[in-house]
Symmetry: D2
Subunit: 364 residues, 4 copies
């Protein structure tokens, strides 16, 4: 199949989420990145585009118009800018008939969200939001279990999303716009709270009817919330809670979901993404793995953890460096010697086994 | 940077490891797959090449000659055939001056291994072997710790690689050649034992001097080993053990490494790839994560587990399907509604917090 | 040292917590149980006392008077009745000058609590409340760490106490009085919420200044709360939360504590009582064990988990049965054959090692 | 029931395993310790006996004769001396018709073992060996599962017992006799290897037919083995392995058991004694807890981990100190204030819930 031609707004050099989107788009070969307005700074935009070998634009409006006009123009665009810069490009590309893949949260303000909604309604192009966690295999299986009523009636829902990276003052680029009310719109609740909210909504299929919240700005001088504790009430009578914090020292990215029904409970934690623990009312907990995921949302067999592919990619990237003449990391790439060592291992093992476990010298 | 032009031998449709190599080569954008002899069956070779949109060959010798002659010919080739089919293509491409990236183990027999070694010596092209586990970040950090003597003198080494998928009779394609002595050369010791051997060698920097082995074929009628228990002795006086089994029922892919030195111990398990547990002689165990990996062999921040990228890729692939007109999985892709729900969540949270936790209705 | 003479109120046959108190009192040999008013039913009281070989009373008031008058009367009394029956005996024994060891919570109503407080003030005897979880070694170490400011200023506190045993209708004796408002006073918040509250108070040294609560009775017809979600605010500006539930299906007894400060965080879970995880702001998590517990609140070396003693006791109890003529469980008690088998193991191991790993027949 | 009168040989002040036996004998109330030859040093023997308030002897032979002659003499004796001192007292008490409860391993030499065996055969009294690990609830359930063929035919067995406390030179009392060939008979294989051996034998019901061993003395100058790696072959065709080490730095007491059959596998680890993981051939792993233990070898409900009792006992012991006038640890014992705080918590929670979650001041 021909790859879909993809553009990108934001994601210039140094950006975190832009690079993630590019790898993700590349992984399965369904997309080819061909154009981008990668920075609001024209020079950086041009440099970044050149680096990636794609058509560069300094303005996303120009890009939307120009790409729509080209026969080989982009069919979809990824928007990976800070929250307050989602609405304008999303609207522009939707109007140009180009599909939009937008990072979360939708926008920094309710007005911006409405603009996007209006543009989406008026356009034939589609709008996608990258809540990536609900695309993990065991989360999809969790949703399937709830949908088929394996938990009975849901009573209790708990989502936590705990990070510690904003526990102190910090001047990182990532932190800067996320703690600026104008650009982020909200603090922890927007940046990670919306992930928690969507995760619960995705798996349970229910949206809470009421909530009660306590927001804090724990770090002196911070102008957005950095800790949020939210009680939830569902129309069904179920109760729930969200805790989203960016001042939970020592937590790297602690997302977790627990749901208790009348018949069974389930638990999933991002730090052990391959395990979905399901505990029926009367019986032992079961550890479901990808072997049980019916959505088949994975590329490698169960037990080859997600990350297996990254290990392979690490090798390929080191190999590329070596081929290109940079041997800095040659020691990290197994080569002939490793292969011969393995063969010596096999030979010695077979020889020893043939002699009932006699000690055999390994000759590499 | 221009991607390196890559070819592939083996990996036709239905192959496991060929698909893995292709994703890995694609992930960081350093390679472009342009040619392949993807199957020994000419028809399947042609079909598979067409599917991938690359130059197809029915014979790898022809491919080596033809590609070497083209100006835009491949610079490197990935060999992802069964073990007994490594030596012939590796030799052909090395002779043609094309870098070889070969799956492990090196070969099915010692003779084949020698052929490759001879060809590698005679060629300017390089030879790489994809022992992927030693490319994971925490394994690289483990190696660094041993290298800087953080464990003191190594005394005890233990590697286990336990799988259960060959515990019974099976007629899967993957099982078929792996249990055929002619094509695999060895059973568990070749398929997974060599991974265990290389992992220990990579992290410790030492090759065992002697070994004593007990090989079993637990499944009636099996002609290769399916369980291997191997005692190791190092020249340094250290002792070690490898247990590689493919009849360990319930084990999906249980690779683990433990090393005990005079000063500290380390432990790593593939099923929790992000954790390297280091226990000093006098003090509590420390759980190292990618935040401590000095090789920086990763793409996402600590706590965004390896697999995070796959989640994103799942979304991109579902989005591609939708864009191409297949809406089977539209319910798995968050869109505008998810975005608006998130905005409603933020608004309700802020309203409730502003009123000291009053219960607020969520208006999506 | 002479054991302290102990009495008991409540704890007749079939009671759970009474038996626990008796074992606990016996374990270190500091107490000798000599008297009891073990049931409000005179016949059961007499039978239970006879079974235990102690002086029996049918009325705790009589017991308080009689024991205070005896030269060899009890010095302390354990009160292990339902909540609403704490105040009367506690008051009676305090007035009689006898130390009181009372199960939690203090009482079923505020009035009863006041009575106890008044009696305690007026008496020379002491009053103890058995919040047993804060007596575990790693909890004591947690408290010590907080006290020495190892966490910096505390910002976030979270305690969960989740059980599932009341998720449905149940007619167990334990459930009956716990779900009766008259006898229990409160539901989950009294039975387990007070444990959570005390645990946080004990470790942090702080009592929350304000709270906001949401109580539910999830099971139809239940007259006390069975799920409690409570937000906490501390005078220091710290925030916290308690979740106590008895309808969390599949949770056997899930008590956990997490505290995040400005400098470090700690986490403790009852299901892994031997591990206290401390994560400093900049560096890997450390798993503290009893080897690090400075309160030395244990009886066996680190790594011999709590429960080690119960294993030994299981043996002693089975041995007692055998000695008394009941050989039902003789197969669970290792005897001579096990000893000879162990000796054969040692001999064969040494013989094999002496012959460089030759296979030796084991002769038991 | 009247407690069985118990004596003890060894276990004077400072001994580890003697104290463990005393607690274990006391826990369920089936034994009363009344006599002892607690040390080979007459003075220490007398002092230790006085401390425990029991009849003291300086010689176990005298003790056997004297106790057998008394009407209220001991009915059973616990032998908790170093290995080489098991045979003489065991023989003496068996001859005197007194039941023997002996710590493992049976003896230091095969000759001593034979003496015990002969004395046991000639006596009406019984001989018990305290392999305590096989008395834990989940180990007993493991044995039951194997016995009912839940694993199918056993193929693979693996036991590890790893400690690090002898990784360096040490002059502790515990280490001293354990590293003396004359008193211990063997090193790691006797001290912990026999536990591993018995655990496998107990759970599988099979004794290996052949073994192949590699013993090391890793610490310079050590005269007994401190690391043992042993390959096992069963008559059934099953294979197994034992690894017992006392130089595994950082391991406190790492005992584990894994068994793989044709139908399912099981895994148990002492560090998580409450979990028995059973993985069927086709399906997710199940985490069995005491809720599934059919031997009912426990004193508290599932989820109240073993160790729960020790927490209670910690309180009782601190309370005893306070009652006896030593208030050093008064801050560790919850009292009236904790009780009133709990009541304030309940009251504030109910008041807040009654006002729909309004923030309520906590009045303690």
């Amino acid at each position: 199949m021909t790859p879909i031609r993809l553009g990108m707004v934001g994601g210039g050099s140094g950006a975190f989420i832009g690079a993630v989107h590019r790898i993700a788009a590349r992984m399965d070969g369904h997309f080819a990145l061909v154009a981008g307005a990668l920075s609001s700074n024209p020079e950086r935009a041009a440099e970044s585009a050149a680096e990636l070998g794609i058509r560069g634009y300094s303005d996303f409006n120009d890009m939307a118009v120009a790409e729509a006009a080209r026969e080989d123009g982009i069919e979809a665009v990824s928007i990976v800018t800070p929250n307050h810069m989602h609405a304008a490009p999303a609207t522009a590309f939707l109007r140009a008939g180009i599909h939009v893949i937008c990072d979360k949260p939708l926008a920094a303000t309710a007005e911006q969200a409405r603009e996007i909604a209006d543009a989406a309604k008026a356009s034939d192009a589609r709008f996608f939001l990258t809540h990536n966690y609900s695309a993990l295999p065991m989360v999809r299986e969790a949703r399937a279990l709830v949908a088929e009523n394996a938990l009975g009636m849901i009573r209790l829902v708990r989502v936590e999303y705990l990070q510690g990276w904003l526990a102190g003052q910090t001047d990182s680029k990532q932190a800067e716009w996320r703690t600026d009310p104008a650009r982020a719109g909200a603090g922890a609740i927007g940046d990670i709270g919306t992930h928690a909210w969507q995760l619960a909504e995705y798996v349970t299929g229910q949206t809470p009817a009421f909530l009660s919240a306590d927001l804090s700005s724990m770090v002196p001088g911070r102008q957005v919330d950095d800790d949020a504790r939210i009680a939830l009430r569902y129309a069904s009578g179920a109760k729930g809670g969200i805790w989203a914090s960016q001042v939970a020292v020592g937590q790297e990215n602690g997302l977790s979901l627990r749901i208790f029904g009348t018949e069974a409970a389930l638990e999933w934690r991002l730090q052990r993404p391959e395990e979905l623990i399901v505990t029926p009312k009367d019986g032992p907990a079961r550890i479901l793995t990808r072997a049980q995921d019916r959505s088949r949302s994975f590329r490698t067999p169960p037990g080859h953890p997600e990350g297996y592919l990254e290990g392979f990619s690490n090798l390929y990237s080191d190999i590329a460096s070596v081929i290109r003449g940079d041997s800095t990391h040659i020691d990290r790439v197994p080569g002939l010697q490793a292969g011969l060592s393995g063969m010596a291992f096999i030979a010695a093992t077979q020889a020893s086994a043939a002699r009932d476990g006699a000690w055999i010298e390994v000759r590499t």
